[in-house]
Symmetry: C2
Subunit: 424 residues, 2 copies
């Protein structure tokens, strides 16, 4: 029969298992970050390649594809390893959701070669190509989101939340780059385009705001450093030009190129922040695991010095039942076991409370997902259609996506039920 | 390299592992319920035994202790089994907290024989004995609470929340029995006692209210049936008498006995509801696990019919990149894999949302725990002292415990820091 101290150790061992799992997941998140960056570059090149009917970036596309393939292999290995090790050892509670996200993204990776072939023979338009890459990146970011949401250690969770928001903000910056390049190349913008452009800027800023809230001073310094004033000034100038173009303006292919280059400088510089976040994450996981193992060792040594079932004699003491005799040495040890258990229990509770606070920052995205699910069920829409509909409503009403999603959820009971279609 | 379908299956397998773990935990909760009931009876008997200086319940105590010992053995076996199986297979995320609660309660069980011996030789007063049993029961209920809080399936979580609140309400009823018996035996009650009595009634009612919210019609019918009108009428009459006693009244030993018997009838009848909840929990876990296994089998068969890495060809279709040719049979299958992944992902998300709603009902207790932790840190109190201080404040201010706890947390920044004592 196992003693209290045995369970004290078992609880610590569970924490270590969770930290090990988190270390693996964090490692994977770092690799996903690099793949997403590669795909963002490939998307940009493919876009220009298609728009120029194959005349530009034809040479640079192949090395970029080769880089993406190597990173894809790393990500796939990470997925496989995660699954193998989760099946062997204790796993964190959200493995099902994490695996489900991976199940969604893998067919996208499988479909990449065919997509690239069709881009190579100019079978697709720039918009189609961009949408396809964007869909894959959404899937990869969902894996990172789930990793952040499932983390069981608040400090690691904070870093993962920072990382997810940074990656998501960078993706919005990438979308802005594509959108702005197309708009500037066209030489005119209407009200709807202006609104969409501003939406992309606002979405980025919200993500970077959360990233800022959850990052250390060191990371923030690096972030400020990475955003060179010259690039940012140029970016803001081109944003102003792009959103105030009138129909009278001629197509500005040079302006479009400048915009693209400026955005690319900015996005490439962001990579240093991502790398730093990934390195910090690795170091933190290592530190936490080592500390937990040291403490576990101390518990184990104590277990060796104690008689089985000790700790019991003191349990009822503060219920006013203690004997008057002074406590012998054995009792002092037993007292310390009870104290350790209480300390552990309070620490776990405090961690759980803090975790809740960190996770609250992920709720915004969950609200949007929930509203999308509602639209899909009630209006028989695909996920993409539901997302577009929400975004369109937000743009029309000049409200934030999350606010529209919240209104929609609040009104859920008033939505029409889906048509009861006869079975075929 | 593993395919998307492989991860679809892995996600389902994780869900099954979690359901298996939940089934074990639920089984354990049922046994804990029976042990708590046994300890509540033993506490009542010990109380009367001590108050009558050993003249009453001397015969009935031994069989009751034997029953408790048998149940304790079952609970210990359950603890051991849970730990062994968690170490072997994937575990739910809160195992560390669950084990930590178990580590806390085991020394209490270890200390029971010594407590019983001291009661047997009349070494303790009734109040000390009651406090000791109450402390152990608090520990056992904390295990049940953690099981409810850690459940990863919303339906099972609902039942566990109902069960926890019912057990907690029953424990308040047990405390009211002891408190009322002592007050009536004394033949007078002052304002402080009246307030404490009303607090015990209100605490019960709040627990039973949550239980009602989370229970099926069938269980509620059984609950209404268990509360016989005659017993409830008698209970309310004695409550009125007890809370309006004046100093002029003589000690009512007969009234105290009637009160004790009436409460006991009520509490024993509650056992049927607890048994029913435990049986429902067992049946629900069995049903859910069987259903998940059937679905897993269907996935596995589909995996056999598909080429490796299928599902990929259709991934980018709704990004507007599809070919115009009609989909061949293979593609229909692939489409269905993508649909299954999307369905799974949405179902997991919906479960997680619902789980959050169910868990919110457990927050009240967490707020109180947090406030206790704050008091312990800032005023160097033991857990018991912190609890008493909160309860006293609630009684003085005629507010609910949770409201006092919330005010305390809101004012946390204004609390004095603990003295920086010199190291010894």
């Amino acid at each position: 029969m196992k003693s209290g101290l045995h369970f004290l150790i078992a609880a610590r061992q569970c924490e270590i298992d969770e930290l090990d799992q988190l270390a693996r997941t964090s490692e994977l998140v770092g690799v996903i970050g690099r793949l997403v960056h590669g795909l963002q570059r490939e998307r940009g090149m493919s876009n220009v390649f298609l728009a120029s009917r194959g005349s530009r970036f034809a040479d640079q596309r192949d090395p970029q594809i080769a880089e993406c393939l190597a990173l894809e292999q790393e990500v796939r290995n990470g997925f496989d390893q995660l699954e193998t090790e989760t099946r062997q050892r204790a796993s964190a509670g959200n493995s099902a959701r994490l695996f489900s996200r991976i199940a969604w993204v893998l067919p996208g990776l499988d479909a990449l070669p065919a997509l690239r072939r069709r881009i190579g023979v100019l079978e697709l338009g720039p918009a189609q190509s961009t949408a396809a890459f964007a869909k894959l990146i959404v899937g990869l970011l969902a894996v990172v989101f789930e990793a952040a949401d499932g983390a069981t250690d608040p400090e690691i969770s904070r870093l993962l939340v920072a990382m997810f928001n940074f990656m998501q903000g960078k993706e919005f910056a990438g979308q802005e780059r594509a959108f702005g390049a197309a708009t500037l190349a066209l030489g005119r913008s209407n009200e709807a385009q202006r609104v969409q452009w501003l939406h992309l800027i606002e979405s980025q800023e919200r993500c970077f705001h959360v990233f800022t809230d959850f990052s250390s001073e060191d990371v923030l310094a690096l972030w400020r450093e990475s955003e060179s004033s010259a690039t940012m000034a140029e970016l803001e100038r081109l944003r102003r030009v792009g959103t105030t173009l009138t129909a009278a303006d001629a197509p500005y292919s040079q302006l479009s190129q400048n915009w693209f280059d400026c955005c690319t400088r900015r996005i490439d510089a962001m990579r240093t922040v991502e790398d730093r976040l990934a390195a910090d994450l690795r170091a933190l996981c290592g530190r936490k695991t080592a500390q937990a193992r040291t403490e576990l060792e101390a518990y184990r040594q104590l277990l060796g010095t104690l008689a089985p079932q000790s700790g019991g004699a003191m349990f009822f003491d503060d219920a006013g039942t203690q004997a008057v005799a002074p406590a012998p040495y054995g009792r002092v040890l037993e007292r310390s076991v009870l104290d350790m258990v209480q300390e552990q229990s309070q620490r776990l509770q405090a961690m759980s409370d803090e975790l809740e606070t960190v996770r609250a920052s992920l709720n915004e995205r969950k609200v949007v997902e929930r509203a999308k699910g509602l639209l899909m069920a009630h209006r028989r829409l695909s996920e993409d259609e539901a997302h577009k509909m929400l975004r369109q409503t937000a743009m029309n009403q000049k409200r934030r996506l999350v606010d529209v999603a919240e209104s929609m959820l609040a009104m859920a009971d008033y939505l029409p039920l889906p048509d009861a279609r006869p079975p075929r």
